[in-house]
Subunit: 201 residues, 2 copies
């Protein structure tokens, strides 16, 4: 497209570089920023630089944090020998939001995905294995996605951890609360029959 | 949501403040930026500040420009007494892209829309009327949207310009090239019959 302003064109290109944002949307956002007061635009720009320069990974669990050890790992009333292994911070937030979990987390930073060029060496596993080997953990919950990449990663972690003194568990799979059977995919429905559990009235 | 990093939360809030970007999308974009190299993130942030601080409106036509007069108004081989009135820079780019127009533009910066609190006083009209009153223009093409706000704005401009020595025209309306009649909306189809033109074989 033929922009009459180089600065506008540059901003549109930079915004367009973000995933899932096309050029028309980038232009719409740029025109919105032009109508926004300067202080707000500077605050946005500053927050992006701070995000990149000040956010670290927690030394203990690998989660995103502003401090060397994240505030979840710092909480004394959590069960520190119970570790839930997740892919990234979004899963931590989802599980925290349930209010059901009082252990700590271990954030891998991804799952094994040859298609995306992510191998076992790219995941944050060493610290988890070290803790397991030293007998610091009672249970590790593998809480990864229900697809092939998630399953592959779970199996890889099982191989790394199975000889250490720690119990391994994984999330229950089956029909979701509120699901209608006729609309449940057949693999999930089949597994929920195969893995049926005693009825607790 | 319960973020483990204040800087991450702040960045997500700022991105979420952009129109059409929900909190989940904002988080996805923030996590993408965390994986992006620092130079790219700084370039994005800088481009947003430059956009806000360095882009001006052309003194002649009101279009966005890095210079006092935009490069379209500076082109000597354009017909400067032929002015196409449009809403914003996106319309300028769309018309330029056709390669059919050799006049200059006049960018209003919006259309009259009481619902959005935009009245005639918010539009860039004074310079256009001044040019028309001084006999600098041969023709003004009203190229505004085909909806009520566009029609209202066209009528307002007609009232402001009709007593000046300038010809007023508007875009042809009718069925689009390639349209099938059965899928054309009935108002457009009705108008295209009422405004039928001589067949040019």
């Amino acid at each position: 497209m033929d922009y009459t302003s180089h600065h506008l064109e540059k901003a549109v290109q930079e915004i367009h570089g973000l995933p899932g944002i096309g050029e028309k949307t980038a232009l719409r956002l740029a025109l919105h920023l032009l109508r926004t007061e300067e202080g707000r635009v500077r605050a946005l720009a500053e927050s992006l630089v701070n995000l990149k320069t000040k956010v670290k990974r927690c030394e203990n669990c690998g989660n995103l944090s502003d401090t060397a050890v994240c505030h979840i790992c710092q909480q004394p009333n959590r069960q520190h020998d119970l570790v839930c292994v997740v892919e990234d911070i979004r899963d931590v937030m989802a599980i925290e939001h349930t209010g059901q979990y009082r252990g700590i987390y271990h954030v891998l930073g991804g799952v094994i995905s040859p298609m995306d060029g992510i191998g076992p060496g790219d995941l944050n596993v060493a610290r988890l294995e070290e803790k397991a080997a030293q007998g610091e953990l009672s249970e590790v919950i593998l809480a990864l996605r229900g697809d092939m990449e998630g399953d592959t990663t779970s199996f890889y972690l099982y191989k790394r951890l199975k000889d250490h003194p720690v119990k391994l568990s994984t999330l229950a799979r089956g029909i979701a609360v509120g699901d209608q059977l006729e609309y449940t995919d057949e693999v999930t429905l089949g597994q929920s029959i195969a893995r049926r559990v005693p009825y607790q009235g």
